[in-house]
Symmetry: C2
Subunit: 472 residues, 2 copies
């Protein structure tokens, strides 16, 4: 444990900032948590509009480390699998993992508030709202001048940027020599529609599932909220034949839903109202490197790696940053020097970068899978076969979705294992009689033999791209 | 020609800004050219240190359009080819193109000054130094508030960002929704060493060549200056076994040069002095899209597309931006509307983006070729064969270097043609007896037949990557 007299700044009181301020405080540091926005408890957040996020194992691990898992559990709704809706209104359920494995739907605003309040309860933490950061500079003493938009500066020993995709902390790093940065918008946008509870106050569709209407170039989704409603989202291209730019009138909206999601219309009485009120939002990936500026500044969460939402891992990846960085801080020697900090934050950058790059790729890829593949019978058959292999050989086989969602191995290792397994499944699915033999022991044997062969011969294995069998 | 009463801002009085201000003025617009730096004529530029750039056909075309080609010619030194130096001090000359084709070594500072002064002579142009731009905003009237770091704002009808790799104009666009941006540093840096004239005031090595000492992971280069000196540059990795971080003492510098460039040492009497005085500089690629903000703002040159210097095309590509945008402005209807401008600048973005992406790739690739391939006898043989094919069939074959340097076809088309020709050369060079048969007519016939075959069958042609036969 290094010098606990240090006073750290955490810039950005979002999900990651709230948790990270608490974790630093628990390690004995004095912490000031800054946010550009007014205090949501005074400003009155729009409670009617809620974005849902999926909390899974990596996120829970960080909650447990910080001792807030029990309280978070009170606002988290377990979701057991995905429910696909076809054009005719038929529904197909697919369980995410084993019977005791769930992802948890939580409201972004609710979880954010909870984490900031848990941090604020800690005597080492002070929270300052209405403090928009404009960047930082390393001063003559080697400590950090945190700069604010009103021209003021507050000196801190170290600065942690948890200020999201448009990070002000990162905006200073972007001007550093040899700092790499990319922001890339995808050609698709999204619009939210709220599915209200029915007249009895109940859920209109099963609350045990994440509902998907996969339709090739676009898809509609619904995640349950506590209280009977669902937050629904249409993902579609901005431009093109069937796209947001071509849905102009109320009639266009109804016609589009009638054509593609006919079973959803009667469940969405406020479709037109929400459509006209809610914007089409864009989605951006960002990558940068390094995530630290010497031993004095580091980025966590979206500030370091913003990804598209299609694997439900953006928040979980940010929470995993907190777990890993807290462990690295715990491993610092007793009287840690500046070079210890510099080496440690450099290590944090190097370890986390490939993991973040991998989940970015997985998330991008999973968008194609979700909207295009989940409705495909052959894809569904493959999932069933994979489940049988995994049950017969849990030591050798774990589906990629489980590696990402229900494990703690680095995302890049999950991705590598997933690709190897997909190469095996390509062999399995190419068996001419697979539709009739899929439940046989021989198929399981074929899979494991092929896997072993690929393992022993992994240098010559051509990476199977694109992988088309990831799921949410 | 659109409304000539408009008053345009050009931000950045570098090479591209100077030329572009002049071209806008020639089209009847009132122009203010801003630069963050003080007037170099008053500030006294460091004349001893000169970066050289290679002006080639694309650049000359823009000079001619603006009517400054004659005056530029007075400060440009023709270079006919490249001169390779091997470990033993042997030199091999390779001509760039036909006997009448040259690239022209010019001093960045000298050409910059000339272009800004040519612009300033035009009655429509005003130049304001000491005006560091901080960004812009589109105001309520739809015109452009150009913002400066002192907090002042000057309103212009349109804004052109020619402010280079760290563009302030682009820094506003980066915050626009759906604006894509990448900055990527390469792992290599460079350091400049000046080769003074000999005691008689003459060049120490032939001034007709761009000298290269290709050494695999690194290389040394020399470009002639008027007056007998050469500007030399060592390109090498920042980190690693043989890298800048491992050359620490004066003895290390001498040992490194003794080992790799022994023939250069006696020509560099101030090697140690320059080494210790000059920094190791980094090299960055940037990409962005779109290059315009509606019909009001556009980027030209490095502000839109900064590339590494290894094809000698960064400046030429920026000048080509000016040629093409000037032609698009000339094609606007008489009383052009805002939507005409918006469509025209959108077209400029769309047309130029693939060309800039292609020259970025070509420049990155050419670094590998220059430092690793130019010294390879097989590579040199391939160049000789290609020259024979091109001379026998000038209508069908033009080496990639010539397509890039001595033509005006878009860089992306040059790259495509170059890859096709490289695929043909792979077939030619794989002939078992090529070392003895290379001067035969059959080899030329084989090349042309293979080219025709690939052309007629181009859909099935696998793109040959990586292409390893580009040259500077």
């Amino acid at each position: 444990m290094p010098n606990p007299k240090e006073h750290h700044a955490v810039v950005g009181a979002g999900l990651i900032g709230g948790l990270w301020a608490l974790m630093l405080a628990q390690r004995g540091y004095k912490v000031t948590l800054y946010d550009r926005r007014p205090d949501p408890r005074k400003a009155g957040v729009d409670a009617g509009r809620s974005i849902n996020l999926a909390l899974s194992d990596r996120g829970w691990k960080a909650m447990t480390k910080a001792g807030v898992d029990e309280v978070v559990r009170t606002i988290a709704l377990p979701v057991k699998g995905r429910m696909m809706h076809d054009h005719s209104g038929n529904q197909f359920f697919q369980q995410y993992g084993n019977d005791d494995q769930f992802i948890y739907s939580v409201s972004r605003g609710g979880l954010n508030m909870l984490l900031v309040e848990e941090a604020e309860k800690h005597p080492n933490v002070e929270v300052k709202f209405d403090h928009p950061c404009s960047g930082y500079s390393i001063n003559d003493k080697g400590t950090v001048d945190v700069n604010f938009k009103d021209g003021s500066t507050i000196v801190h020993d170290r600065l942690f940027g948890t200020d999201g995709v448009y990070s002000a902390v990162r905006s200073t790093m972007v001007r550093n020599d040899r700092f790499n940065y990319t922001q890339q918008y995808i050609p698709h946008g999204y619009k939210e529609i709220l599915m209200m509870p029915n007249d009895d106050g109940d859920y209109r569709i099963s609350e045990n599932g994440l509902h998907i209407w996969p339709r090739g170039e676009f898809m509609f989704m619904a995640l349950p909220n506590p209280g009977g409603s669902f937050t629904c989202t249409l993902f579609a291209p901005f431009e093109g034949e069937e796209s947001f730019e071509n849905i102009k009138t109320d009639e266009d909206v109804v016609a589009f839903y009638q054509k593609h999601f006919p079973d959803s219309i009667e469940m969405l009485p406020n479709l037109i109202e929400d459509w006209n009120e809610n914007p089409v939002s864009s989605m951006c990936n960002t990558k940068c490197y390094p995530w630290n500026d010497g031993g004095r500044v580091a980025l966590l969460g979206d500030a370091a790696h913003a990804i598209v939402p299609f694997y439900g891992q953006g928040m979980n990846c940010g929470f995993e940053d907190c777990s890993i960085l807290s462990e690295l801080i715990d491993s610092l020697p007793e009287n840690s020097s500046e070079s210890d900090w510099s080496a440690m934050l450099g290590e944090y950058s190097r370890v986390r970068k490939p993991a973040a790059d991998a989940i970015l790729d997985l998330a991008l890829h999973n968008y194609i899978v979700m909207r295009d593949k989940t409705g495909d019978p052959k894809y569904q058959l493959q999932k069933k076969i994979e489940k049988r292999i995994a049950e017969a050989h849990p030591d050798k086989w774990k589906p990629l979705y489980s590696l990402v969602t229900f494990s703690h191995i680095p995302y890049n290792e999950a991705w590598d294992r997933g690709e190897l397994q997909q190469a095996v499944m390509n062999v399995v699915m190419s068996q001419s009689d697979i539709e009739t033999t899929w439940e046989s022991e021989e198929i399981i044997e074929l899979a494991i033999e092929t896997l072993d062969k690929f393992h022993s011969d992994s240098n010559s294995l051509a990476r199977p791209t694109p992988l088309l069998s990831v799921d949410v």
